[in-house]
Symmetry: C2
Subunit: 206 residues, 2 copies
């Protein structure tokens, strides 16, 4: 933003908005002036929504997904298959898998992946609680759905070493060409993996 | 955003953010999850900054610019030329003109332009108070710096009709080719105006 702020209150609000990821000073100014044009209730509802969220939010004590209750609505749903656990990085991944409507098991939200560069070790993630969940019994399969980066692969391997003696089945989500994508534009690694991990042709339309 | 929200508090906060201009559900989700990762003080500072702004903000009773005080720091500055008033649409325009450091007069913030399509008439804007400022005396020139749209031109003309009998000098900011722009890419109207409103060549570098 160029120019001096005519009000320190305005400057403070703009600076707070500019701390958000992907929001610069100009966008922050635009957003704050938009809110300033709304009535008091609207602005209070906006400001309080995020304060209340931070104060009152709970995390499911089983899967560590964000939740309004002690145990989230997925873990407490008797119609879900409690013997399968899908390990994801964050709650956005839970929402993405839920949106597919293809998965009926439970989740385990790690809260990130092992990343020594960022100072994130296994102790900073919900890995111990995952091991404990498996050791407590009742789980037959753990699906690893972490991002396919070096950090994700490291975390997969760490979990594998911790779980290999428990006898639980460990699987990884399939990597391959996106549905609708053209082969010639796919990267070599993905195309290579999709050939290696080919599946039997069923003869029925998906 | 696809998928069901795991928490109504989260959903509420995301919906509040998604009301901001240019912010969709996915961006709202990203911003809210970012705030959720911050500590409580940071989130409270964020939420309260905009609530406090809305509650405590004042508008200068002379120029209607946003201000922390009854009379803004521009109107109360004795080093500014109180005989020249620049009429602008909003406080962002004040900040833009201030950033040029070329203007030493005062401002008058209309709060918009006359726009019958949006139901905005002269009564919804700070036009009467502008007329009164001129009638109260001490002002020799009013510079119109509204946007060059049909609505801006209408507002200019309305102000002109209201002020023509007062003897105040009325001027309009220059329209022309931007400094550094190439002629061949300029639109015809702007190029035409810049030729009509040509200025004497001074022979000194600007």
């Amino acid at each position: 933003m160029n120019g001096q702020f005519p009000s320190t209150l305005l400057e403070k609000a703009v600076n707070e908005f500019a701390k958000l990821p992907g929001v610069g000073k100009k966008t922050a100014m635009r957003l704050v002036l938009h809110l300033l044009r709304q009535d008091e209730e609207t602005v209070e509802a906006f400001g309080n929504s995020v304060i209340r969220l931070k104060h009152e939010v709970k995390y499911c004590r089983k899967c560590h997904n964000i939740s309004d209750t002690e145990v989230c609505h997925i873990c407490s749903n008797p119609q879900r298959d409690a013997s399968v656990v899908c390990v994801v990085e964050n709650i956005r991944d839970v929402m993405a898998v839920e949106a597919t409507q293809q998965y009926r098991g439970l989740y385990h939200v790690l809260g990130g992946v092992i990343s020594p560069m960022d100072g994130i070790g296994p102790g900073d993630l919900q890995i111990d609680s995952l091991i404990k969940r498996v050791q407590d019994g009742g789980i037959s399969e753990v699906i690893l759905a972490l991002s396919s980066t070096m950090e994700g692969d490291t975390t997969n391997f760490y979990i594998y070493r911790k779980l290999e003696h428990t006898g639980v089945r460990l699987s990884v989500i399939a990597r391959g060409i996106s549905v609708g994508d053209e082969l010639e534009y796919a990267d070599e690694v993905t195309l290579g993996r999709s050939i290696m991990n080919r599946t039997p042709f069923s003869g029925v339309m998906p």
